[in-house]
Symmetry: D2
């Protein structure tokens, strides 16, 4: 679907859309194989491709930088959403424009809730793309979809906070450029349920922070970004590492959610669009039983269903973005739950159909599909499994 | 769902929306049981409820009348679409506002393509709600989803057209108020494929027109509207009964399609919304195994999925309407194919879930659900089965 | 599918299978239209077709009679299951062989638990096919899938039981030949949960038994069998009307379940097979876009999926039957829950695909499909909705 | 499902079943982590775990060896099928008993069609478990699901066959123990379509055979078994390397199919059973929102559906095996097509649900699930994608 002229956008948004589209097609997609290939040798597995850094400089120079942050970009959520879709076509797309998770969420948190000192120390280099960050929330030993389960312990001891606990799926923590973590943990087990958690800034190099291991997603370690299991053993950070205030972790997490969901979903829609394009291309070029695959009814079914599912997911996500623009994340709460249910599952279905039409090539390293599937599949779990959002949407519906 | 902020509407459209919503809730829905019940006695099966006629007069007096026709209503397709959703909540809703199929399509055809004489003779009383009409296209002996299959024979004989053939699923032809048919048939078997068909105005009372039988949908005969099988044996109408010109039937059919699809789909969305509301109400009020159904996970799944499917279908349909508004039905061709695939099938799924949560009451006459299911299910066939639209969408995607 | 080599059968069972197949094809199916048509005139709606009675006499004379009852037939559950499939192809098939619900279940109950007097009075004429019966369990005001909800009140008063309450979905109660009801109600609200209910024999003509109305299933009233709502107002029956003993209703209901489920599921499989056969026939004979439907990929998908779903459901049902044969209904509990989940839902899917391939004819009275769909759909609710059986199967799995 | 006592088996089969079950639980499953872990260091990636070899010796000593081959095992296909299910629970299970693909198929081919010399040279050490083999059929440049597309060129030149072409998904070719390939290629482009292909024995070490690269499945390289892309450049083998005769490749491929499909499907059923067991265990032990996952309705739905799907797939596969036992692979053709459609797709669904219930652990290396998913998903493509088998089943149904 071309950018629909139906939804009013500023001229600037339209221009940025064209620029990013152009940059994706002329710079990012052609460089994708080289950048991913850079990490193939074991010795370079967790290093950063110079080509990627070069693309980032280029994008920055063009002003295609930090557009996720409304304060910087002056874009509405609807306007940015359509840029996120473009970036999402490639697993490296978002980073090129300094718009990749979890940095975007972390920068938003610092922007909205950080002290001046915190901003200067961490937000400035993050916005400059000089360092990267990670976010520690999920824990291996509890069902973290119920955030009240979080057990990581944070206590004050003199002029320090002392952290003990385990986090996993802390994506990006193994990136060599990652310098700062935001860690959510419990500062007060006795407070009302939603005031027990706090968020702390913890430099990666702090004593007691250990990268225990790299987690894989369907065989992919996603280096050099990666997904870490981190252990915190008597990790000490000064009192001013606290963001916003003790007991306000849940509140920050909520604020982080809305726009972040839009971004994630639009990236998935971009990924699904690319999968559909590849599916169509393969279906047209490959002949089975005397006719191109594209003329076989079952393939037509796969293609057509993919189109209706993608377009519906996009409209729903833009609708959620428009509701945030209109009344804020709380106002858009129901729509935000809905896109979390719809987009990852849609992407899984579309990519799976593209895999099917590709045969063996589809599951192998010869297309981006299998890796995209792994990414989309894990997003049916990250940030709460589908079931949690379905139950919560049903409850809203029953009110 | 409140009106989506994605689609701007005029103040007048917003006002009309409120008025129709009010009229539906205070007048139409409360009268539904009485109006449908009027046809229960066999002797009254094919007569018209006086209450229905009274509601029509009321709506007409309030100016809530013929809003489907842009020339009358000055509404965009997006704006009217949201009214159609409201009307679609009840099987009698659209007629109350003189906005029910197939009259809407027939009036559009006459408005766009009728001669002045044809308009005066048929369009004027139709717009006044004094008579009703039917449309004869589908034939029992051929797969009519491929319109080139149509065999009904129309030949010129002196100053008459002579019609021989069979039509079925001619809805509304058995309504006692139905006075005029638009019949599609073949005037030239040798012309290029899309110039073989023509459309004729045939008064119901013309000699040789026979209502062969009433078709049922699942077990419903849908009286007093009904679905007729009609036979045409040497039916003669004067030459000026032709609409637009010989060989232009296909062209008229195409023009009739776009907005008609929007209307049908929005009505289905209204039906689905009502089914979801009933499902929620039942789930909250009925206790099984110690808890209200609404607290059981499988019911929550049914409710939440229904919500995301309805909202996505609505946004897709509004998007198609916006494309018609922007560039006409041809421009919106792909979007129009998409909603035909999505809306009837979505409505079937949502209504089926509502039936399931109602238990035996759901399949019986005690709720509107079973009848609504039958209606929605038949719309996966009417106007081309899903498969035809899936194949055609896939082809557009592969271009 | 020919009989599966997985399940051994006796020569006699194989012979009976051939005889019933022959009888269905030469006698029952050809007479179906006439028998159903007999009830078309309103005046005959609730009368019995003489042709049906004639077929019953014929079947009885051939010894194809009461084969559902192992004591009569000496067939295993597996062996009878395959006969039930054959009978199930037509809505009138089972009755022809005196093997239709709810009489089969009622006869089983009388056979297993009836006193000698009860047997003589009711079982004998039922086995002879002279009278018919109904079973009153489900109630309109409570979720009856949780049998402990049943409220119909039965109290002893002198030498009588006095019944007050409402039942609905009492199928067959409006059949003019129906003379006896088995009614489940509460004799002791204070007993342990599963000892509160009892079963009583209540002659239809007893004072205080009122047929309140006929329920419809998707527009079908299923006359002359029908589904009644019955009210019981101070209905008095003598003390010896009790079956087995007070508080033993639940126990009887359980025993009634196992083989009954097999029968229901096999009938549905027969129905689905017939739907598939019709689908194939239509797909081969109807041409769209230049090729028979059978050569279009989406139709092939529908046909192939139907085949794999039917065959799997049959094997699962035969497996459940084999488990009953081996260790009784309790031993087969899990398998019996499974077929209740699988068979009705499979039949709905297969019949729905057959409808889709038939276009308008599929939802109309021109094929048996729409009515079969209504029947199959209601079996996803009767005897507990899918959700109850899914939850109960999951619990067994978690033990 | 315990081994169902319903299907008659020999006492020996029952004993073997118990022995293999025991061996799996006491030897194989406990050693799985160690054996898979052996390949974790890059240097050992393509070497063979001594523990695996030790288990093989143990199994061999117990006579749990080569049971896939009826001539050796004297087991029926039904009997062996249930052993294959047990072995299939672990990715290393089948190899332990010398029953893993593609060796099983290759040994069958040699057993049925090999010359005495071929048998002595290759079958004997394969049966002894001393060497391993691979099978080259699928090609990267054509849709190999249509076997007539195969292009690999084989021509006679003096006393040699000369092979030129590319194969991929040649699983096991990179195993250090792999010494022999069976290669399918075209010996006669002008022959009738099904007589163009031949099969050749090609020792891995032959000049001109190059392992071009290792293919991955999702992110797994499946070392040390692996999936190779092989190039053949003027590869020369003596004339007596031909199996059965020139132009008989298609015939051999067909014969190889039947039992092989049973094995593959039963292994998938074993995998799915293990996934369900893990799902249940997780659901019982993990608490969310105050209750174990096992008490949440959506999880119950997942568990119950998995159970009914697994049991149906198993019964269908056993049915296919019984048909082969009864009338040979040709007689069982339809059933064999059906299980290819059902089993891989069922396994994907069940494993996916298990992943979902595990949250992040499900996609990571912490359970066997993600890898099992990748394996099951690729089996929806290997040996022809689902679509090919659906179309072919539909055609059989329409005859």
């Amino acid at each position: 679907m071309a950018m629909s002229p139906l939804f009013p956008r500023s001229e600037r948004a339209i221009l940025l859309h064209a620029q990013i589209q152009e940059f994706m097609h002329t710079q990012v997609l052609p460089a994708e194989a080289e950048i991913i290939g850079f990490n193939a040798p074991i010795a370079q597995r967790w290093q950063i491709s110079p080509k990627l850094e070069a693309l980032k400089s280029q994008a920055k120079a063009l002003g295609l930088w930090n557009l996720f942050l409304p304060a910087v970009s002056k874009l509405s959520n609807v306007e940015y959403a359509e840029l996120a879709e473009l970036m999402g076509q490639s697993e490296i797309g978002s980073e090129v424009f300094n718009c990749s998770a979890p940095d975007t969420g972390n920068m938003e948190v610092l922007h909205l809730f950080g002290s001046e000192a915190q901003k200067q120390r961490w937000l400035t280099p993050l916005l400059a793309g000089e360092i990267r960050s990670a976010f520690g929330m999920t824990e291996p030993d509890v069902a973290s979809s119920d955030a009240t389960n979080i057990r990581c312990d944070i206590r004050q001891d003199g002029s320090d906070w002392v952290i003990n606990g385990k986090k996993w799926w802390t994506s990006g923590a193994m990136d060599p450029r990652c310098e700062i973590l935001i860690v959510m943990g419990q500062t007060s087990a006795d407070a009302p349920v939603h005031q027990r958690q706090s968020m702390l800034l913890v430099p990666m190099q702090t004593a007691g922070v250990t990268i225990k291991r790299a987690l894989s997603v369907f065989g992919y370690d996603d280096a050099p970004h990666g997904h870490a299991e981190l252990h915190f053993d008597n990790v000490r950070v000064p009192l001013d590492s606290l963001i916003l205030g003790a007991g306000r972790g849940f509140e920050i997490a909520q604020a982080r959610l809305g726009p972040g969901r839009i971004h994630h979903c639009m990236r998935l829609i971009g990924l699904a669009e690319r999968a559909l394009a590849l599916m169509v291309q393969r279906a047209k070029s490959r002949v089975v039983f005397g006719r191109p695959i594209a003329e076989h009814g079952m393939a037509q079914h796969a293609i057509a269903l993919s189109r209706v599912e993608i377009d519906q997911a996009r409209l729903l996500t833009l609708h959620a973005a428009a509701q945030i623009d209109q009344g804020g994340a709380k106002f858009a709460k129901r729509a935000i739950a809905m896109i979390k249910i719809v987009a990852p599952s849609m992407a899984c279905k579309v990519i799976d159909r593209a895999i099917q039409i590709h045969g063996g090539a589809g599951v192998s390293q010869d297309t981006f599909l299998a890796h995209a599937y792994a990414a989309a599949r894990s997003l049916r779990l990250a940030d709460g499994p589908d079931e949690v959002h379905l139950a919560s949407l049903a409850k809203m519906e029953c009110r």
